[in-house]
Structure formats: structure tokens, C-alpha cells
Symmetry: C2
Subunit: 343 residues, 2 copies
DNA sequence: CATATGGTTGGGAGCGCTCCCAACAAGGAG
DNA sequence: CTCCTTGTTGGGAGCGCTCCCAACCATATG
């Protein structure tokens, strides 16, 4: 097998120097005749520049890392991360970059992988996602000079770039919607309180209720994002005879819906359900789920754009991008209003 | 901001040469006293070798690529790919390699990303997954000298390394199980016939039926892996009054179950359901799904191991790893047998 | 005619590492 | 005492690229 060819070889075949070929490849100034000749040789030989050599010389790799901690077991059961990856991937493709995935669990061994993330010459920057409160990962990143952006709202958001959705406002809208429907005994199935989304959705919902003069009293339970935890939480809450419930994620809401029907109750007649995410295809549940839709894919795309601008030095002062959410009204809340277009 | 330090700098601080530091880092032979001193400097300075420089010099990147074509929309709704990624990721972590993800749709633009996959100096090898029959991707890979293994069964499997599950035998087992339960009007919800899994599961099921002297006659429909396609297919098949059905994926089976109950029928009393994947948590459906379990995570791990051995030159003649499946008997088939341990 | 200008091109230096070979010291064998 | 071995170390060469500066040519200008 013959040796891979390099810039020099291509140059020799085209009768020009290494530098000229490099200029053709990278879009520098070259006379059109020379350019044509060089391009012909490249097409003919199938020459591709060596990524590692390029990285070494230019001090930039064209790779961005995506860090997902606590990626154990159930992670991918929730479509959230899949969507996020899809958004990030399509954005990296668009700017001709490569996506490196760093998944790890909580084991001490696995955490040591973190250090691989900041290996110089491996990635140009990283997107860190879904950390729990107090996770040392963000602090660790801050201690390096690796550019990074956070998807979500980290503890000390002030000093980091981040992209998030307005969980609080979205949940508040859900509360106001239930109140507007005349529901007076709302319940809450919260998401884990060690995550920013969990906290924000809980607070936003309670805030909205308070505005409407309502309260969950003791009708509150916490799930772990899984469908089954939603079912269990709902089964328990039913004892408090709620007439409505805000479930902090679609996935848990599917479980909650099941608990409702298992208890012989009817949604939306006996109980209104509003959830968060807008990620479960509407037709998958009966009744179709009213949900606060968050633009996951857009968040991913925006995170890539923000990161590239940080890498390029265009952004230097921490910036927070917050996406609005939109309430998609369907049948599960018992609203008589039409589903909005795009819901 | 001071310059990143390199081997030379570390060596200077420890009073040794570049080469010696390199040997300490890579586990060469160094006297214990020197080693101690160098390691102290490394710990103190937080030195990390530059990945790109290392790749260039050693001609190996420590990165493996995972290629998933047709990654549009619904891809991640099926937990299959998530599990596969999890398995692959944990295996790469174990051998201290990094995972690069190449997702793309079918658009002509997107397909061009393929060429990025084989960029020299970017990845050491790639795992190609889930291609449809006749996809030019495999041929394209074969035209390069990039090591690769296929997850699944490619068209001309003879000349490629691949890791697959025994879809055919698994589906056959499902058929025999239904036959053993005394069902005589079996139906089939097949998976897309442009995928090897779709073909193998269909053929295996038909083969098993034939052995048992049964036939699906016209009780056959094809879904697209999605839950809703399963529901639609089942709704249609019900017209043929089947007493049992083999659904080619868990995801579609969930939809099928829904169609059964929407038709006012009872599973398993009126109709036995057996599916394939073993990927949907049993408690998520009523009744719990009897399914042919495939070891997705293990497939991913094995693919990484096989690939590294190809990269290392340890494997040179195409090798096919086929994992067996196991029938997990639960309630949806109407079997009176106990669920097996581990089901 | 000399000089300035601008578009092209070539080649040196260097990115940080690995690989290899030579150098050296310290013993043990002859 | 010399020779060989073994263990340890240093440094040259080179991986394939980018970046920069100098050289060159042609044309425009004084």
C-alpha cells in the first residue's frame, strides 16, 4: 500500500509548491489557472489534508465536544437528549465541524474521563449539559482555559456562557392556564430538585399559582424524569383529590396519565394534565397532552453557534441565551380552546 | 496567559529530557527515582500531552467514529440508538478512546459529510450502523483504507467485519412460541424491508411458522419502526381476525397494543402479541410485553472491541460476530408459563 | 530610465509529539 | 583490564500542515 500523499506530493504533481496547494485548499489567493491545475490533481488523487497535522499547525481542531454527565441507564429513554444531540449535530455539520461525545456515569472511575475532555489539541471547545446542582464539572471547566458553554442554568451562571429555555415562565404559564380553566385543587409532579430545570419549573408553577390565588398545599410529589416515576407520583397524589396537575416533563406525564386511568378516573374530565417539554408526539397519548413546548433542537443549534463565537474570540463576556417556551393546548387539560396552530 | 507547556518544558523543570518525560507519560522504561520526579512535575503543572501532536507523530488519534445515516427526526425516539451509543461509549471510555459522532440525513448536502468521516488523522476507525439495503456508504468505506466495522448485516457481508444479532433465529423462536401456544391465525407487523433487521425478522418469523405448519396468509403489514406505524398496521390487520401477532419491534408493539385495546379487544385473551427488541421497560405496557431480547449494549461494546482489533492489525480477515437473542416471556403472549429469570 | 505597486509564488520555521539510535554508566564475565 | 551486557538517558529526524516573509514578475508611475 502506497504512502498517503501530502501537500508536497500534490504540489509536485501539479508543478507548484506545498504552499500554493495549501492556498488552494484553504481558499487563499491563487491565480485561476494554477488553481484549476491543482484542483484537478486533488480530484484525481483524492487528496485530503491530514486533520491532525492541520490541528497541530493551526492550533484548532474543528471538533467540539458534548459532555453529558450521569449518562447511566435511562438517559436515552427520554427523547430530550436525542433531540439535543440532533440539534447540535446538525449545527456542527453546517459549520463543518465534528462532534465528539463524552458520556459518563457517576462512578469515580468514570468521572476521571472529565480530564480527557480538556486534553489540549483534542477539541476546540465543549458544550456541557444537564449537570445537577453543585456538580463540580462546571467549576472544573472554569479552571481550565477550554472554551465552553452550558446548556441549562448552572449554579453560578454569572460567569459562564449558557443557553437555556425559560423554564420558569413556561411553568408559570401552565399554572395560569389551569387557573383560567377554573381548576382549584392543582397538584404538582416536580422534577428532581437537584437540577435547574426541576427547580425552575417547580418555582415557576408555584409562582403562577400564587398569582392566581391558588396553592398546591400538600399535593406535591417529585419524580426522577422517568415515566414510571410519573405514574407512581400521580398514584400517590390522587389521594389528595386534585382536579389538575402540572407534570414537569412529558415523559412523566405519560406515566401520570396511566395512573389516572388505572385509578378509574378520566382525564381531562376528572383531572386536567399539563406537562412540560412538548417532546412526546401528541398522538401517542389519549387524550393528547397539553404541554409547554421547549425548542430543544434550537437550543442545541444555538449552543454550537455561541460556542464557535467564544472559540473565535468574538464573544468574551458571559452571555445568557434564554429561549421562550410555548404552551401547546390539546385535550389533556380539558380546555375548550382550539389547539393553537403549530401545536 | 502563558503558553501551554510541552514535553520540553516539563523535562526542563524536572531536569531531564523531552524523551524521558515522554517515556514516563507513555509507560516506557525509566528509573524509579526519575519517574517520581517527573510525575511530581506533571502533577504540579497539570501538564497534558497535546492530542494533535501525538496523533501526527504516532499516526493514531485515539478517536473512533460512529456513523449513523438517516438520522433525521424520529431516530432518537427509538431507544435502540441510545442504547447502542451507550454501549459504544462505555467501551471507548474503557480503552481510553474518544467517540466522534457522525449523524446525517439523506439530503445530498448531508451525504457529503461522509467524506469527512474518512479524513486522515481524524479518527482511527469507524463503526457504521443502520444502513439500509443498497446504501452506498459501505461501498464507499470499502474504497478507502479506513478500518471499519458494521453493526448489522450489510449487503455483501462477506467482505466486511460486522456485529449483529441473530434476528432470524429470534423471530423464528417467536413464531414457534406462538405456535406452541396453539395460536393458528398469526399475523406479522414487519419492519421496513430495506433494512437487514426488517428482512431477517420477517423471514425468520415466516420460517418458524412454516415449520409449525402455519402461515400468515395475507395478515401481514409493514411499519416504519415508529409507534404510530405499529398502531396503524395493527388496526388494519385486525380486519383479518388474527389470534396472534409478531411485531418486529417493541416500539411498534406499543402502538399495536394500543390498536388492540382501541378495537375493544383484549391482549392476550383475544390476541397474543410477541415483539422484538426487549428494549421497552416491561412495566410500561399493560399487559407486559413478551419480547425477543437483543443485547444492544453488548453489540455496541463488541463492535468497539472488534474495531480496535482491526485498527491494531490483529484482525485481518473479515469476521462476523452474531449475538443470540432470548425470548422474554411475559403476559402479552398469553403464555401460562412463568416469565423466565432475567426477563 | 528608475522606482513603486500589487498579484503570485516558494520555502523556512515551527507546532509538540514519537521513534529510533547513539551515548553513557555500572557491573559481571572472560 | 577489557569486553559485553543491561539499564537508562539524550537528542536528531520527521509526522504534514500553517504562517510568514522574501522573491519574483508584470505593470503602472515618477
Amino acid at each position: 500500500m502506497e504512502r498517503r500523499l501530502n501537500l508536497e506530493d500534490v504540489g509536485r504533481r501539479a508543478g507548484v509548491s506545498r504552499s500554493t496547494v495549501s492556498r488552494v485548499v484553504n481558499g487563499g489567493h491563487v491565480s485561476s489557472e494554477t488553481k484549476r491545475r491543482v484542483e484537478a490533481v486533488i480530484a484525481e488523487t483524492g487528496y485530503r489534508p491530514h486533520a491532525a497535522a492541520r490541528s497541530l499547525a493551526s492550533n484548532s481542531t474543528g471538533v467540539i465536544g458534548l459532555v453529558i454527565p450521569s449518562a447511566a441507564g435511562t438517559l436515552f429513554d427520554d427523547p430530550y437528549f436525542g433531540r439535543l444531540i440532533l440539534g447540535i449535530s446538525s449545527a456542527t455539520n453546517e459549520v463543518d465541524m465534528t462532534l465528539a461525545l463524552f458520556l459518563f456515569g457517576d462512578g469515580p472511575d468514570e468521572r476521571s474521563i472529565i480530564s480527557r475532555v480538556v486534553t489540549p489539541g483534542l477539541v476546540d471547545g465543549v458544550i456541557v449539559t444537564a449537570t445537577t446542582r453543585g456538580d463540580p464539572l462546571i467549576d472544573h471547566m472554569q479552571g481550565t482555559n477550554m472554551p465552553f458553554v452550558v446548556v441549562g442554568r448552572p449554579d453560578n451562571a454569572v460567569s459562564t456562557f449558557c443557553v437555556d429555555v425559560d423554564n420558569r415562565a413556561g411553568a408559570r404559564t401552565a399554572a395560569l392556564h389551569l387557573a383560567a380553566l377554573g381548576r382549584s385543587r392543582p397538584a404538582l409532579i416536580a422534577a428532581p430538585s437537584n437540577t435547574s430545570a426541576g427547580i425552575d419549573r417547580r418555582n415557576g408553577f408555584l409562582e403562577g399559582l400564587a398569582e392566581a390565588g391558588l396553592s398546591v398545599e400538600d399535593r406535591i410529589a417529585e419524580g426522577d424524569w422517568s415515566q414510571d416515576s410519573g405514574r407512581i407520583a400521580m398514584a400517590r397524589l390522587l389521594g389528595g383529590q386534585p382536579d389538575s396537575v402540572f407534570v414537569s416533563s412529558d415523559r412523566m406525564a405519560v406515566g401520570a396519565l396511566r395512573a389516572v386511568s388505572e385509578a378509574g378516573l378520566n382525564c381531562p374530565r376528572d383531572i386536567s394534565v399539563v406537562s412540560f417539554d412538548g417532546i412526546v408526539p401528541p398522538d401517542l397519548t389519549t387524550p393528547r397532552l397539553t404541554s409547554v413546548v421547549q425548542p430543544v433542537t434550537e437550543v442545541g443549534e444555538r449552543a454550537v453557534r455561541l460556542l464557535t463565537s467564544v472559540i473565535g474570540g468574538a464573544s468574551t463576556t458571559p452571555e445568557h441565551v434564554v429561549f421562550p417556551t410555548e404552551l401547546a393546548v390539546r385535550e389533556s387539560c380539558g380546555s375548550t380552546a382550539q389547539a393553537r396552530p403549530g401545536a
